[in-house]
């Protein structure tokens, strides 16, 4: 029997003995395949929202988006509206963004500043710390008793922490410390965060776009170097004809060496579902960070400077954010809407205090390549939508992810050891797909066991129960 909408055999993606049947993980036999039902199935999606997005750490925002006391940032953890609020003492708080009375979302704007948040429905008032400080006509409607409002204080989320300015939260409290969740990926965050003498800032302006494709396609694509020389060859050709016409110099030039040809590159399974991709820049001097090289050399370890200046990087942090430092620097925030629909919001993030020339160059490179109005991301989005369309029919079942399997190595390679991160696996070419194994193993583990870091049931225990 078929599902009318998806064309699948009914329940192919449904939980049987867990979701193990969707990942054919037999690397010893040279097989690693993922059932395309992971992109299309409603039961899979429901489990992902509950167990991954609402069951563990997710990215919320960058600290520069809530700089001063009273600044708030509205976002979601899975389906749940939350807001991050800079507290009066300078710390961060994150609360369920819902009036305790009748459930209306509290913040009027995505980003704002407020001493108190007043529900616009019945006028209940909450202070920055989430305390319910006023109930309209309280004395007329509730028995008068001291402290009655306390039971209406806003709920705090289960866990909140930040790493070098990047803020993460979890609805559940039984999660490992953020630093443990980030693991080896923290060193890759350093590579971006350490570029600013005074930290980083999110540049004004953003773009939200909707991709008719599953959220995991965003995750995969962010570290897939294999598509670059085909899908983005038109970007390289466009840049080549532009260079032939214009006489651009310095940071205004566009680097296309990575796209056109073979450069040293690699990918990493960074553990806990995080993945990284890098490729050597052919013209590092056109990058905006190049102006800061003297300071970088003075302040950081040589290996870190080398990675910052010479290696373009995409970092995927499980499950919902990418930090890109390739043609430009980007936070790419991913919000799953349905199995078939993903909302993506992109921001440019840059070192505070960089020169106007560097900032302008960074933004022009961003606009050139990223964005659905740009000349590369628009093609990526179209490709991912084609994968979604191609995944619908039952005969189209397996995605093969074995490329480069024979040359990938368990653990960190020499580069990783030099920079100092404990990669779970290393691939010596960005066209290889070994990092996806780690991603899908974590994905499966989270679907099987619920919250990240929650105690695992015993081997014969209640997986999927």
């Amino acid at each position: 029997m078929r599902n009318e909408r998806t064309g699948h055999e009914m329940n192919r993606g449904a939980e049987r003995d867990g979701f193990r049947h969707l990942v054919d993980d037999r690397v010893d036999e040279g097989v690693f395949r993922v059932d395309r039902a992971v992109y299309t199935d409603d039961a899979v999606f429901q489990a992902e929202i509950e167990r991954i997005f609402e069951g563990g750490w997710v990215f919320l925002c960058h600290e520069s988006q809530v700089e001063r006391p009273g600044d708030y940032w509205s976002t979601e953890i899975g389906r749940q509206a939350v807001f991050v609020m800079r507290q009066t003492d300078g710390s961060l708080g994150c609360f369920i963004n819902v009036c305790s009375h009748r459930g209306a979302v509290l913040t009027p704007l995505k980003q704002g500043s407020a001493n108190v948040l007043t529900c616009r429905f019945h006028g209940w008032v909450y202070d920055r710390g989430g305390r319910c400080v006023k109930i309209k006509n309280e004395e007329l409607g509730y028995p008068v008793s001291e402290g009655a409002r306390e039971r209406f204080n806003l709920q705090r989320i289960g866990a909140l922490d930040s790493y070098k300015g990047f803020v993460f939260g979890s609805l559940r409290s039984d999660v490992p410390p953020l630093r443990d969740h980030l693991g080896a990926a923290a060193r890759w965050i350093d590579l971006l965060a350490d570029q600013g003498r005074d930290g980083l800032e999110v540049v004004p302006g953003c773009s939200t776009y909707v991709v008719h494709g599953n959220w995991k396609l965003q995750a995969e694509n962010s570290v897939d170097g294999y598509h670059v020389t085909t899908l983005h060859s038109v970007f390289a050709a466009t840049v080549a004809q532009r260079d032939a016409r214009d006489t651009t110099a310095g940071m205004r030039r566009t680097e296309s060496g990575r796209i056109k040809g073979k450069v040293p590159s690699g990918t990493y399974d960074l553990g806990n579902g995080h993945m990284g991709l890098w490729a050597m820049h052919t013209t590092p001097d056109v990058r905006p960070i190049y102006e800061a090289r003297a300071w970088l050399v003075e302040s950081l370890e040589p290996a870190e400077v080398e990675w910052i200046l010479n290696r373009g990087r995409n970092l995927y942090l499980f499950p919902n954010v990418m930090l890109m430092d390739n043609p430009s620097t980007q936070i790419r925030f991913v919000k799953p809407v349905s199995p078939r629909l993903t909302e993506v919001t992109v921001y440019c993030i840059a070192p505070k205090g960089e020169s106007d020339t560097a900032r302008a160059a960074r933004l022009r490179k961003f606009e050139d390549f990223y964005l659905t109005a740009g000349m590369a991301t628009s093609d990526d989005a179209a490709a991912l939508e084609a994968i979604q369309d191609g995944s619908l029919g039952p005969p189209s079942q397996w995605n093969d992810m074995t490329r480069g399997m024979d040359v990938m190595v368990a653990g960190p390679d020499r580069d990783a050891r030099e920079l100092g991160f404990e990669a779970a696996a290393s691939c010596p070419d960005w066209e290889h797909e070994g990092m996806f194994h780690g991603f899908y193993r974590t994905w499966l583990e989270r679907l099987e066991y619920g919250a990240g870091g929650a105690p695992r049931p015993s081997e014969n225990g209640a997986a999927g129960a």
């Binding site: 704007l109 773009s207 004809q241 900032r359 109005a373 939508e385």
Partner: protein, 168 residues
Amino acid sequence: MSANGIDAALEREVAALISREAMLLDRRRWEEWLDLYAEDAVYWAPAWASEEETTSDPETQLNLLYLKGRGRLEDRVFRIGSRQSWASLPLDRTVHVIGNVLVERAQGNAVEATANCIVHVYGKKGAQTRGSRYDFAFRRIDGALRIARKKIVFIDDRLEGPVDIYHL
């Protein structure tokens, strides 16, 4: 003369030029479209900075498109024509409808005007209707008005599908 002191013939000329640009985009006559632009033209669609405001400084803030010089428009035409851009094959069909054209200022060879545009797009995802507010600056070059600057406040956010020069 119209009420605001702008010559009526100039108003007609400006309205015709804005409509002509729309027609050339809808009919994919890219080379003729490029010819409407001055060599040093600036084509600018700011990004939204918040629900209520766009970015205001194109140099140091993010834009959807900020193309300085006609060459950057040629890049776009090159990419569309290459048939290698996945987002541009098949090309979305468009119908631009221009309205509310107002010449705001005219001095010597320089003219400024505002207009609205509704673009109906049909593509892989079906039909969409999008809206833009235009701020134009024109310059008279060898007797003909050319576009020296086009600012597009694209009111849509949460964008579906690509956004290219023929969508705006």
